[in-house]
Symmetry: C2
Amino acid sequence: MTTPTFASLAEFRAIISNLTAPEESAANAARDRNNQLTKPPAALGRLEELAIWYAGWNGSARPEIVNPQIIIFAGNHGVTARGVSAFPSEVTVQMVANFKAGGAAINQLARTFGARIDVHAMDLERPTADFTQGPAMEEVEFVDALRTGWNAVDPATDLLVTGEMGIGNTTSASAIAAALFDGQPSDWIGRGTGVSDEALALKIRVVEGGLERNPDREPLAILQNLGGRELAAMVGAIARARAERIPVILDGFISTAAAATLACAQPGALDHCVAGHVSAEAAHGEMLARLGLNPLLDLGMRLGEGSGAALAIGVLKGAIACHSGMATFAEAGVSDS
Amino acid sequence: MTTPTFASLAEFRAIISNLTAPEESAANAARDRNNQLTKPPAALGRLEELAIWYAGWNGSARPEIVNPQIIIFAGNHGVTARGVSAFPSEVTVQMVANFKAGGAAINQLARTFGARIDVHAMDLERPTADFTQGPAMEEVEFVDALRTGWNAVDPATDLLVTGEMGIGNTTSASAIAAALFDGQPSDWIGRGTGVSDEALALKIRVVEGGLERNPDREPLAILQNLGGRELAAMVGAIARARAERIPVILDGFISTAAAATLACAQPGALDHCVAGHVSAEAAHGEMLARLGLNPLLDLGMRLGEGSGAALAIGVLKGAIACHSGMATFAEAGVSDS
C-alpha cells in the first residue's frame, strides 16, 4: 500500500475521513493467547488490554516493540507578545539545541526505553501570529505544518510518541480546549510553566480574546486559528500513524489538545492512541475524560517534550513483553484452576 | 562495614531497632543538581522526588541504576486446607518451575528492565500450619525464613524488588492487615485470585478465626503467627536492604502487608522503600495510605511475583536517567527565567 499524502486542507480532511481499522484477527488471536498465559484471569490488569490493543494495530498476535520513534516538534507563538509565559521565546530555540545535543529530559527517557528521537524546529524565527489579533496561521502555513508532521513519521516504526516544545503553547492549548469543549475559558487554563496569579488572570483574558477574535468552531479551524505549528504537526503525525496503523502514545496537555481537534473532526480518529499520562496541568485530566482516554501514568509531570509519553513506553514495553514472552498453562505445566 | 546477621528473633529485633539513614550530603547535592537541570522547576513532578530519594540511599548525587535484583520467595500455606483459594497448592511449585524456566510475567518484566531474578522456594512440601488452629510458624521456622530473606539480598545490588508466590497468601496478608490496623477483618479482605462470593465469605470467617486463635498484636508476632515463610523472607530482605542502604520497590497487597509488620515494629523502617503500584486487591490502597506510601503505578494489576514493582523499575530508571543525564541550564546555554 502506498500511503497517500496531501497538498491541501481538503485533501487532509479526505484522508482522515477514511480511517484505518485494527486487524481484528490479530486482536482476537492476542485475546486467545492472553487467556492461556500462566496467570489468573485479568491479573495483569491494564497490561492485558494494552497488549491486545497493540496487537490489533500492529497486526500481530505476539508482537514486539523494537523500533519506537519519538518526534519533537518545536514552534514559536505570537501570543507570547501578550506576556503569557514566564520564559522568553528564545528558550524554544535553546531547547531545540539541547534536544539535539542530548541534554534534555526526553533524551534520557528515549535512551532508557530504546527509542529514537527526531526533532523538527518549525520556523522558530517566524512565530505564528498573535491569535488575539487574528488567526494564528494562514491555511497554507497550517497545511505545511500538518504535512511536516505527516512526513516526520517513519513508516517502519512500531510505536510513536509525539512531543512538543514551544514557549506560550499552553495558552494555545487552553484556547483550543475552550473552543472545542463547553464551559468557561478559565476551566481550561492552568498555570502552565512557572506562571503567577497575575499572569494566570492575563492568560484567561488572552484566551477569551482569542476565542472572540476567532469564532469558527470547526475543529481543524480551531487548530489553525488558535494552535501553532508544533500542534498542527502533531496532528499530522498522529494522522499518518493512523494511516500506517502505528500505535501512538499521547503526551500531556498540549499534545492532547492537538489530538482533541482530530478526535472532534473525525470521531474514532484516536483509537490507535493511548494517553501516556495525566499531567499536573489542571485541565488535562478533564480533557482526557472528554476524549474517553484513561492515562497510564499520574506522576505530576508537566514538562512536555513527549516526556510523559516516553516514560509510558516502559509500561507498554512491559505489557507487550509479558504478552508475547510468557508461557501458556500448557507449556509450563501449570494447573489453570 | 560488615553487615551483621542474626541467630534469633531478639537479634533481628536489635538490628531493626538500629536503622541506617540516607546520606544527607548526597541527597542535598542531588537536590541542588535537580534545581539546575534544563526544565522548569518541578516539571518532572514525582520523578524529581524519586531521584533525590534514590540519591540519598545510593549515596551518590548523580546515581545510575545498573544492577537491580528481583527476589521471589515462594511458600505454601496450611490455611489453604480451609478452601480459601481457587487454585490448588500445587500451583506454587509449578509456578516456581515457571519462574526458573523464564516463562512467568516477572521474567519478562525483569528482562525488559534489566533486572536479575533469584527464586527461593521455601519448604514448599511442608506448608506452614493452618493459622486457624495455632501459629503459622514456630519461632525457629520464622527466624529461618527471615534469615533466608536477609541472605538472599546481593549487597552489590542498587535496587531491590521483593516478590512472592504462594497459593493462599492473600488470606494471610488480609489477616496480618486486620491484626495490625483497626477496622473489621472484612475491611481488609478482597477476592484474592479468582474467588467467588461464597469463598469471600469463607475467607472472612477464616481470617476471623485466625485472629481469635492468635491474639498477640506485636507486629513481628503477627507476622509469625498469621504470615508465611515468603512473607517473613520479604521482611528479612527489606531489613537487609536497609542495612545496606539499598532502595526497595514494594509490590502489591502481600508484599505490602509483610512490609507493614516491619513498619509497625519499627517506625521509619520503610523509609528506603517506595510503593511500586496499587493493586486491584481492594484493601491495598488503604494499606498504603496507612503506611504513608504513595504508589507509582495504578494499572489494576493483581498478580504478585513482584510484577507491579518490576514495572515500576522502569519509572525509577527513567527518573534517575533524567536526573543524572540531563544538562544544566549553564551547560546547555538555556535561559532559566
